[in-house]
């Protein structure tokens, strides 16, 4: 008995239907009549592979004697079936095969397959529920931002005290020790680098908490559900269902979110989503919200941060609907299938890796772009605007930087923050949103009356670093119940205002005619809506083209101004703030 005969007797057959079976038999006869091929493969198996146009088999047969002839016959059979069925033969072969497998599973698997729900299925029934899904997503976001704003506060206070306390003192002492005390170099380092870079680094704990909570949600599998639920909403609103996936990426950073719009196959959908992505609040904007919410809304800072993120989402959705019905009219949105990964218990290692990667990137940037911007700003603030002053020897209020900033400040007057300090922070913030904080720290540091601290020794400082860190850790644990509104910290939960916070509060109260809180909200909305950073502009140009990039920059700036104006002036009319 030859090999093919053995294989023939041991195999079972799926019935592919009369027409396909007829072609299989015809091909099998041809195969068996080809001596160079017949002993090598089971004839039925080979006939099916040929009808399926299996590329590997086609290549192998081409070099065998009689192979080309066999391939010609197979092609004719496949063409005949295609004419008969109106589609490729392999689809009907696969159709039969899947049908057979499904029948077998139903027959031999004893458990009630379709009634059995895994834990993931049970959770999904609630989390991705058509009605409950969105409130659950909102509740998750609420928890994330309460955690970020409230629970991280003790560590934020600790790093602030460290940067502006012992670290600033040590740097000043070292400069004095090597003979640069009282020189422009000391001013550059203390008022430029420490005030600029240091006050951005102060927010590292806030970002770590944000990235940590996002990592938990991502690693657990919830984020995929959030995208699924929101995509469904987007779809109902007439936007492309897949728009929310890039937007979700935008919570971390707008740049990869812009590149993630490539998952949308239609160019118009890609452009539309690319225009909406910058409204999702990236991590770099968080320090601005935390600082301002801490100054003007100390008791509700978590809620304010949450509402800022929500404002971004709502703005993106509303603008998306508007654009979809105007500039992008006539584009239908197609449905899609999403593979939802099973829920997993996040590992400490995985969470730490995600948190560290993102935080590390933030810290790296502090030593590159923010450092460079801080130095450039310090130089501009050291050059006198009028003759008579000396380099670094006059009040920064009289500097070229202040003079330039005063030129644009009137544009922000109707928004409640028409000072040169706030205006300059918004202009430099175009480079990156972290620079808003470093600019404010620099411009306000020169104006505030520096606290005169008691002289301390190095060892006293080290002791203070350690004891205050332990205190911050204990307070962080105690502040966890703040997420559900339980305050175990008492009065400690209320942050002691720093010199920078006091200076910002005074500046905003003064520029807004006593409506400081309203002006602060308008400022935060402006920061949320206008162009996120230069890197985003580059990504927009790359992904959307130059014209759309300009439209995006101009549109975002105009919308930011308009929204801040309505908020401030509307709030004033209603007697708020």
């Amino acid at each position: 008995m030859n090999r093919s005969a053995t294989l023939k007797s041991n195999t079972f057959s799926i019935d592919y239907g009369q027409e396909i079976e007829g072609e299989i038999t015809r091909l099998m006869n041809e195969i068996e009549a080809t001596p160079a091929i017949a002993p090598m493969y089971p004839p039925r198996w080979l006939a099916i592979k040929l009808l399926e146009a299996d590329e590997d088999i086609q290549m192998r047969l081409q070099v065998l004697e009689g192979g080309v002839h066999l391939l010609d016959i197979a092609q004719k059979s496949a063409d005949h079936l295609q004419t008969l069925f109106g589609d490729d033969a392999d689809i009907f072969i696969a159709e039969r095969r899947y049908g057979w497998i499904n029948g077998l599973v139903r027959e031999v698997v004893q458990r009630p397959i379709f009634d059995r729900l895994t834990i993931s299925d049970k959770i999904d029934r609630v989390v991705t529920h058509r009605l409950l899904g969105i409130p659950i997503f909102m509740a998750m976001m609420w928890a994330v931002f309460k955690m970020t704003a409230d629970v991280s506060a003790p560590y934020l206070d600790w790093t602030d005290a460290m940067v502006n306390g012992p670290i600033a003192r040590w740097i000043a002492a070292i400069l004095g020790w090597i003979g640069f005390g009282g020189t422009w170099l000391e001013s550059l380092v203390v008022n430029g680098i420490v005030a600029g870079v240091g006050n951005v680094l102060v927010f590292v704990p806030v970002l770590m908490f944000l990235y940590l909570t996002l990592a938990v949600l991502e690693d657990s599998g919830y984020m995929a559900r959030a995208a699924f639920v929101m995509d469904r909403l987007m779809h109902k609103l007439g936007l492309h269902g897949k728009s929310f996936l890039p937007m979700l990426v935008g919570f971390g950073c707008t740049v990869p979110a812009m590149y993630a719009t490539r998952t949308l196959e239609n160019k118009k959908d890609r452009i539309l989503t690319g225009l909406l992505v910058p409204f999702m609040s990236c991590g770099a904007r968080l320090p601005v919200y935390v600082l301002f919410a801490g100054i003007f809304f100390p008791k509700n800072s978590g809620a304010v941060v949450f509402w800022m993120y929500l404002t971004g989402i709502i703005t993106a959705i509303l603008l998306g609907i508007l654009l979809k019905n105007t500039l992008f009219k006539g584009q239908g949105s197609s449905a899609f299938v999403m593979e939802l990964p099973p829920y997993r218990l996040p590992t400490l290692r995985g969470i730490w890796r995600h948190t560290w990667e993102r935080t590390n990137s933030f810290v790296k940037k502090a030593w590159t772009i923010i450092l460079a911007t801080s130095v450039v700003m310090w130089v501009l603030m050291a050059i006198p605007a009028k003759s008579g002053g000396s380099f670094g020897g006059m009040d920064f209020n009289q500097s070229v930087f202040a003079w330039l900033a005063r030129g644009i400040a009137p544009a922000f007057q109707p928004l409640g923050f028409g000072t040169w300090e706030a205006s300059s922070a918004l202009v430099t913030g175009f480079v990156a949103k972290e620079v808003v904080i470093s600019t404010m720290a620099q411009v306000y540091a020169t104006e505030g009356d520096e606290e005169i601290a008691e002289p301390t020794t190095f060892f006293e400082d080290v002791g203070e670093v350690i004891t205050t860190f332990i205190g911050a850790t204990v307070d962080t644990v105690k502040s966890l119940p703040l997420i559900i509104g339980v305050n175990l910290l008492g009065d400690k939960a209320e942050e002691e205002p720093t010199t920078l916070m006091t200076a910002i509060k005074t500046g905003f109260e003064s520029s807004s005619g006593g409506h400081g809180a309203l002006a602060a909200l308008a400022f935060m909305v402006f920061v949320l809506i206008y162009t996120p950073c230069m890197a985003t502009v580059v990504a927009e140009r790359h992904e959307l083209g130059t014209n759309w990039m300009w439209l995006s920059i101009i549109g975002q700036s105009a919308l930011a101004w308009l929204m801040a104006f309505i908020l401030f002036q509307g709030g004033k009319l209603l007697g708020l703030g």
């Binding site: 490729d88 696969a94 159709e95 899947y98 049908g99 499904n102 599973v105 397959i113 379709f114 299925d121 999904d124 991705t128 970002l207 996002l214 991502e218 984020m223 995929a224 995208a227 995509d231 469904r232 779809h235 109902k236 269902g241 897949k242 996936l245 979700l248 990426v249 971390g252 950073c253 707008t254 740049v255 990869p256 590149y259 993630a260 490539r262 998952t263 196959e265 239609n266 160019k267 197609s334 449905a335 899609f336 299938v337 999403m338 593979e339 939802l340 990964p341 995600h354 993102r358 590390n360 990137s361 940037k365 502090a366 990156a432 950073c533 230069m534 890197a535 985003t536 580059v538 990504a539």
Partner: protein, 91 residues
Amino acid sequence: MLLNQLLDEITNARAPLSVNELSRKLHVEPAMIEEMINFWVRKGRLVDDSEENMSTESDSHCGSCSACPESKEGAHAASASRTYSIPSRKR
């Protein structure tokens, strides 16, 4: 006609679908739904969006935005789940 039923469900859906939803609708195990989706991807009747995205991503890189880790895995963690859609005729 499971394969065509699956494709019809996706084509005619009014909202995004999950594999589990399709499994319940077609009374087929989720693993088999995934296999059938892969078949349609091989046939070009569905597009694996993640593959599409990655294949054109080689010339792109994250900018200097601080919140963006350099690794793709981290950057796209939020969108880690795969999506499949009907390819549009006009790109």
